[in-house]
């Protein structure tokens, strides 16, 4: 029972962590809560369903399951990246030097817009993920574990390792870190700030799309409002780990997933969201920078 709940929590936490990475990276560079990021995740989930339905109609899924799943992830990622890019270009770039509330309101507006756009074009009813044949549950320590949970955890870990290598080893990753530290200075040493910001949005959107497709597979159905709650939770995870901090977002996501899963099964399922927020408030009061965040001293 406990082990089962821990695995559930890790799978949930992996999804939160993937979304949280998008929040934390954008915040690290633009100091903006990208409220529309949850909507990108929702769009990713919808695209997963739409693409898999398409492949099933064409007949690809029946013959080559793994290939079609791979194409679903890839297609969803490409589309979400395009949405992320457009979002940044339309709603955020014109406001880069505005008062700091302006981009936040713009983000909220975009979030409302995207939710209603999906509702109007796809309807407000639940969208069902096409049935696919899955392998039998694997038994570990006498507990049956769903193949999907293992798949979610493994995929997320692979993506996170990939992100870590990208940020710490590549030239573009270095440019991102420099931009996060000091935008103006980075610009002076020849980094194309606009390009770095665009790349940040693309990476965040790709991770969110992966989370979206996996959640659609896991729960079997999605709706146009799933982005809102997931977005808030993921942002909570990002703050918990220390916003702007990439490993922090991963840690925060897993902690949040575990707290929710364990809290729901051992204390009260109705109040599971309350635990998450109470932990958040507690962390912010005792350690305002988050768990892995630096102790930020105020610049005067």
């Amino acid at each position: 029972m406990l082990f089962q709940q821990i695995v559930n929590g890790l799978a949930l936490g992996a999804v939160y962590a993937l979304i949280a990475l998008g929040y934390t990276m954008v915040y690290g560079i633009l100091e903006l809560i990208n409220f529309a990021h949850g909507e990108i995740y929702m769009i990713g989930a919808y695209l997963g369903i739409l693409l898999l339905t398409f492949f099933t109609v064409v007949g690809l899924t029946q013959n080559h399951l793994l290939l079609s799943l791979f194409l679903v992830f890839l297609g969803s990622a490409i589309y979400c990246a395009a949405y992320g890019l457009t979002l940044e270009r339309v709603a955020y770039r014109p406001l880069r030097h505005a008062h700091r509330l302006s981009p936040l309101i713009s983000a909220i507006g975009t979030s409302i817009f995207l939710q209603n756009y999906v509702m109007l074009t796809q309807g407000s009813a639940d969208k069902v993920f096409p049935h696919i044949l899955l392998p039998e549950p694997i038994t570990l320590f006498g507990v049956p574990l769903g193949p999907l949970q293992i798949f979610i955890i493994l995929t997320s870990v692979v993506l996170m390792i990939g992100l870590h290598i990208f940020v710490s080893k590549t030239r573009l990753g270095k440019a991102m870190r420099a931009t996060a530290q000091d935008k103006r200075m980075a610009g002076l040493v020849g980094i194309d700030i606009n390009q770095v910001i665009a790349v940040t949005f693309v990476i965040g959107s790709i991770l969110a799309s992966a989370a979206g497709v996996m959640v659609a597979m896991y729960y079997g159905l999605v709706n146009f409002f799933i982005g809102y709650v997931a977005g808030i939770k993921a942002f909570t995870a990002a703050v918990l780990g220390g916003i702007g901090n990439v490993p922090g977002a991963m840690l925060g996501g897993f902690i949040l997933g575990l707290v929710e899963s364990l809290g729901a099964s051992y204390i009260s399922s109705e109040y599971k969201d309350v635990f998450a927020f109470l932990i958040l408030i507690g962390v912010l009061i005792l350690r305002p920078g988050g768990l892995l965040g630096e102790k930020a001293s105020e610049k005067v």
């Binding site: 302006s102 507006g109 979030s111 817009f113 074009t121 916003i243 309350v274 105020e298």
Partner: protein, 401 residues
């Protein structure tokens, strides 16, 4: 290069929406955007080559003058008096000849005016981004619902009580968030909304869960019971007037100036002797009072409360009123609240599209008119002074520190 945009943008957007709208929808959208762009381009070319006829020019100038007058750029005393009289007359007399539906919409608008003015204290004046403002509204509404159904407390007693309970919670939230700045504050207040919403939904013994509380007592004065829409209209009108008076006084007071100092630069404010701790908590408390009062009225008007009315989304709606109208400006915020409540009612035929439009309007406002419809006059003065002295570093466009 320009030509590339005129073709590239429609194609890009068409491809983006294709999975959601289907090929025909995507094609239609692309064509519409392309034609729109073409029209825009033609309009620019025409306006460059053709001069406007004199009459239209004069008309535009007059309209501009009227807008400047309304937005508070030194109207003459006579203009001011005429404007005040017209508005007062319309607000007092017009409802007598309007139908109940319109009066209900106006009453709702009144509630939101009170909420927006209250939030304006926290966000517009003190500069604390509170996304959880609606919880105080909920606390006020449930206070009256419980006081009325359990203890039979009258509306008039509940009005200050509900306000005080909300203010108390405001103080608590203020103390909790004292050390947090900017976005952290936003996320904690957001968590606060979620917690209040969940408690209302799940604490069945007290709040009756998602079913809400029914049969809340109506306000009464002696034998006269407020029951028809018009009664509630005049009641909320009185509350709105009280709020406007109080907020306007606050804005001009020592406290109001201290809040603005905190908003512009907290460290500098502290250094010049402003007690930032006390004033920030005070901002939360004084903002929450009005949400509590509005909540009590809401419960009395509809005789029913349920958690559904107090979601994070409502918080955003109220915040958008403040931003749309102009942060820190009392007439602006009133206008913002009226627009956000009344416009969707007018556009009822396009009901399913109105939230789509609302989202887009928020984005466009931020890009093209971030100071709101009627900007805060004091802020404008600051802006002009700084423009003259320093050139570019103004409060509105300075780099985020």
């Amino acid at each position: 290069m320009k030509t590339l945009y005129y073709i590239g943008i429609p194609v890009w957007l068409g491809l983006l929406v294709q999975p959601f709208m289907g090929s025909e929808g995507a094609l239609a959208l692309a064509v519409v955007i392309f034609l729109g762009g073409l029209l825009w381009w033609t309009a620019i070319q025409v306006s460059r080559s053709v001069r406007l006829p004199t009459q239209i020019g004069i008309l535009l100038e007059e309209a501009g003058r009227l807008i400047r007058t309304l937005s508070g750029r030194k109207p003459s005393d006579r203009q001011r008096r005429v404007l005040t009289l017209t508005i007062t007359g319309a607000v007092l007399i017009l409802p007598l000849i309007l139908n109940n539906y319109i009066i209900d919409v106006l009453t709702l608008a009144g509630i939101y005016v009170v909420l927006a003015l209250g939030l304006n204290i926290v966000v517009g004046m003190a500069g604390l981004l509170d996304l959880g403002y609606i919880s105080f509204y909920a606390i006020g509404a449930y206070s009256y619902a419980l006081l009325s159904t359990r203890l039979g407390v009258s509306f008039w007693l509940a009005l200050p009580l509900g306000g005080s309970v909300a203010a108390l919670f405001g103080v608590v939230l203020g103390i909790i968030t004292l050390r947090l700045r900017g976005d952290y504050l936003a996320i904690v207040t957001l968590g606060f909304v979620q917690i209040v919403h969940l408690v209302l939904n799940n604490w069945d013994r007290v709040t009756n869960g998602p079913n809400g509380i029914l049969n809340i007592g109506r306000p009464a004065l002696g034998a006269f019971v407020f029951s028809r829409p018009i009664h509630f209209y005049y009641l909320i009108l009185a509350i709105v007037l009280l709020t406007v008076l109080a907020v306007d006084r606050l804005n001009r007071s020592r406290i109001g100036r201290a809040w603005i100092a905190i908003r512009e630069d907290e460290v500098a404010a502290q250094a010049t002797g402003v007690d930032t701790t006390r004033l920030k908590i005070l901002a939360f408390a004084l903002g929450a009072i009005w949400a509590g009062v509005a909540g009590v009225f809401f419960a009395a008007k509809f005789a029913f409360v349920s958690p559904e009315s107090f979601t994070f989304f409502e918080s955003i709606i109220v915040l958008s009123m403040v931003v749309l109208g102009g942060m820190g400006s009392v007439p602006g915020v009133i206008l913002g609240a009226l627009i956000v409540v009344i416009l969707p009612e007018v556009l009822r035929e396009f009901a399913s599209y109105r939230m789509l439009v609302f989202g887009a309007v928020l984005v466009l406002m931020m890009i093209f008119r971030p100071q709101g419809l009627i900007g805060n006059p004091r802020r404008r003065v600051e802006l002009q002074l700084q423009d003259q002295s320093q050139g570019i570093r103004t409060p509105m466009n300075r780099e985020r520190a």
